[in-house]
C-alpha cells in the first residue's frame, strides 16, 4: 500500500462527501446548525486541491498534509476533530511498514486525537460513537486473521451500527446537546460522516 492507494482513498472520500453534503447538512439541520455537509465538502475539496498540485513521497506526508488542510479549511467542530485524526493517523504511519496491525495502531492514534480534542465519551451522540466500535471491530478482525481490506470492511460495518445507535440517544456533546431531550430520534451527522470515511477506506485501501 503506497501513496497512490492512500490518494485514491482521499479522492474517493472527497467525492463521497461531496455527494452526501446535502444529506449531512440535512442531518445537522435537525439537531445542529445546518453546516456539517458544507464543512466536510469544503475541507475535502481543499484536500483534493492539495493532491492536485503536490506530489507526495510517502503516505504519512500526504495524510499529515490532509489533516493540516482540514484544520485550516473546515473550522467548526469537525475541522479540528477530523484534522487531528488525519494528522495523528499520518504521524503514526511515519516510517512504519503498513500492515493490518500498524494501520490499526494508526487508526487508534487518529481517534486518540479526537478524544483529546473533543473529550467525547461513548453514548454522547458524537462521531466517537461510530469510531469506537469501528476500532474494536478492526482489531477483532485483525486478531481473527483478516487483511486490511477485511478489517476495514468490519470497521465500516461497526461504524454504521454505531451511527444507527446514535438515533435514540440524548446528546451530551456538540451542538445537539443544547436540544436536550429533543435531540433524541435524530442520527448524529458526525457519526454519519465517520461511517462514510470508513466505508470509503474499505473501498479503496488494502
Amino acid at each position: 500500500m503506497g501513496v497512490d492507494t492512500f490518494e485514491s482513498w482521499l479522492r474517493d472520500l472527497a467525492s463521497t462527501l461531496h455527494d452526501n453534503a446535502a444529506y449531512l447538512t440535512e442531518l445537522d439541520s435537525a439537531i445542529g446548525d445546518a453546516d456539517h455537509g458544507s464543512n466536510m465538502d469544503r475541507g475535502f475539496q481543499a484536500v483534493v486541491a492539495v493532491l492536485d498540485e503536490t506530489t507526495f513521497a510517502a503516505p504519512d506526508e500526504m495524510l499529515k498534509k490532509a489533516g493540516m488542510t482540514l484544520v485550516s479549511k473546515v473550522g467548526g467542530a469537525s475541522g479540528p476533530l477530523y484534522g487531528t485524526f488525519f494528522l495523528r493517523f499520518g504521524t503514526a504511519l511515519t516510517g512504519a511498514e503498513i500492515t493490518p496491525a500498524s494501520l490499526g495502531e494508526a487508526l487508534k492514534a487518529g481517534v486518540g486525537g479526537i478524544l483529546q480534542r473533543g473529550k467525547p465519551e461513548l453514548g454522547d451522540k458524537t462521531m466517537y460513537d461510530a469510531w469506537a466500535p469501528a476500532l474494536a471491530a478492526y482489531d477483532e478482525a485483525v486478531a481473527g486473521g483478516s487483511d486490511v481490506h477485511g478489517a476495514l470492511v468490519a470497521a465500516a460495518e461497526a461504524a454504521a451500527k454505531g451511527r444507527d445507535a446514535t438515533v435514540p440517544l440524548v446528546a451530551r456533546k456538540g451542538r445537539a446537546s443544547y436540544l436536550g431531550e429533543r435531540s433524541a430520534g435524530h442520527q448524529d451527522p458526525g457519526a454519519t460522516s465517520t461511517t462514510l470515511v470508513l466505508e470509503s477506506a474499505a473501498r479503496t485501501l488494502g
Binding site: 446548525d33 467548526g76 467542530a77 475541522g79 473533543g118
Partner: protein, 334 residues
C-alpha cells in the same frame, strides 16, 4: 431561499469587503485570512483583544472592532467557527508585547479552534495568550459532562467592557480576570418566531407553524429547548426574564445592564416593545437598570425573535460601559 447574495460560497468575503468599504476610518480587513482589524492595531502597550466565530451574527464580531472594543475579529463561514490559522495570524498581528486575550463563545468548534491557535501562537511567536470562554445561555443546563452552556448576548457586553479596560492599559491578567467576572455575572435567554436559512444549505434549518415559537434557542438557527404556542409579548418577556433572573440569581437591589437583542429579522419597533415589557418585569423585581442596550447586535441571520441578557454591574463596570467606543456596530463618546 431569497437573500441579497451572489454565490453562497462568497457571502462572507463579499460582506467583509462591504464592511471595510463602509467603515474605512475604523477598520481594515485581511481578506485572505478573513480578519477584521482595528485600523490602527497593534496599539503599543495595549493588550490585544481578539474574538471571532462563525459569520451570520452581524454586527458581531467584525462590527465590534475599533477603539474601545476589539483589535481583531476572525470571521468563519456562516455558523462555522473560524480556523486556527486565522486566530493565529490575528494574534501575531495585534500583539504589541502586552499579550492577547481570546474571547471565545462556548461552542465545541470555537473552543477547539481557538485552543489550537493559542497553542500554535505560543509555540511559534511566544505570544502570551489568555482565553475567556463566554457561556451565559440559561436555556442550556451547565454540566461537566456536556458541552455546557452556549455563549450568547454577554459576549457583546463583555467585548465592550473589556475593550474599555484594555484601552486604559491594564495588564493581560487583569483584563482576563475582568472578562471572566463579566461572564460570571451575565445570563441570557432567547426565542425565535422563525427559523433562518444558512446560504449554503439553501433552506430553513427548521420549520415553525404560524402559531408556534421556539424558546431557548441559540444564535445558529438551531431549534430551541421547547416549542410553545405563540404568545403575547408580555408572556414572552416573562418566559425569557424569569429563567435569567432566577439563574444567577439577580436579586432585589442589584444593578444591571439590560440588553434586549434582536435575532436579525425582528424590527426595532418590536424590540422596543419587548424592552418595555422586560423593563416592567425588572422594575417589579426591584432590579435597577443602570444601562440598557436594545437592537440587533448578536444575530442569527434573518431569524425573527429576540433574546434578553442581564449583566450585574458595579460602578467600575458602568464607568467602563460609558467609556468611548468607536466601532461600526457600537459607537458613543467618540
Amino acid at each position: 431561499m431569497k437573500k441579497l447574495i451572489n454565490d453562497p460560497a462568497d457571502v462572507v468575503s463579499e460582506a467583509l469587503r462591504g464592511l471595510v468599504a463602509a467603515h474605512p476610518e475604523q477598520v481594515r480587513v485581511d481578506l485572505e485570512n478573513r480578519i477584521v482589524y482595528r485600523k490602527d492595531a497593534p496599539r503599543a502597550g495595549k493588550v490585544g483583544l481578539i474574538s471571532g466565530g462563525g459569520s451570520g451574527h452581524e454586527p458581531m464580531h467584525g462590527g465590534f472592532v475599533g477603539l474601545g472594543m476589539l483589535d481583531a475579529a476572525c470571521a468563519g463561514e456562516v455558523f462555522t467557527s473560524p480556523v486556527p490559522d486565522q486566530m493565529m495570524a490575528a494574534t501575531k498581528e495585534v500583539d504589541a508585547g502586552a499579550g492577547v486575550l481570546h474571547i471565545v463563545k462556548n461552542y465545541t468548534g470555537d473552543v477547539m479552534n481557538f485552543e489550537m491557535a493559542a497553542e500554535m501562537a505560543a509555540a511559534e511567536a511566544g505570544t502570551e495568550v489568555q482565553s475567556v470562554v463566554t457561556n451565559d445561555d440559561v436555556a442550556v443546563q451547565d454540566s461537566l459532562y456536556t458541552a455546557g452552556r452556549r455563549g450568547v448576548g454577554v459576549t457583546v457586553l463583555l467585548e465592550k467592557l473589556v475593550g474599555a479596560a484594555a484601552e486604559e492599559g491594564r495588564p493581560l491578567q487583569e483584563i482576563a480576570d475582568l472578562a471572566r467576572r463579566v461572564n460570571d455575572n451575565g445570563r441570557s435567554m432567547g426565542m425565535a418566531l422563525t427559523s433562518c436559512t444558512v446560504p449554503a444549505a439553501g433552506k430553513p434549518t427548521f420549520e415553525l407553524a404560524e402559531n408556534e415559537m421556539e424558546v431557548g434557542i441559540g444564535i445558529h438557527g438551531e431549534p430551541g429547548r421547547q416549542r410553545l404556542p405563540m404568545a403575547p409579548a408580555k408572556e414572552i418577556a416573562a418566559l425569557l426574564v424569569d429563567p435569567v433572573v432566577s439563574d444567577l440569581p439577580y436579586r432585589q437591589g442589584d444593578s444591571v445592564i439590560a440588553f434586549v437583542n434582536g435575532m436579525g429579522g425582528t424590527p426595532l419597533i418590536e424590540l422596543y416593545l419587548m424592552y418595555n415589557e422586560v423593563r416592567q418585569l425588572l422594575d417589579s423585581a426591584g432590579i435597577t437598570v443602570a444601562r440598557s442596550l436594545v437592537g440587533n447586535y448578536i444575530t442569527s441571520l434573518e431569524m425573527a425573535g429576540c433574546s434578553v441578557t442581564l449583566l450585574k454591574v458595579d460602578d467600575d463596570l458602568v464607568r467602563l460601559w460609558d467609556a468611548p467606543v468607536n466601532t461600526p456596530g457600537l459607537r458613543w463618546g467618540a
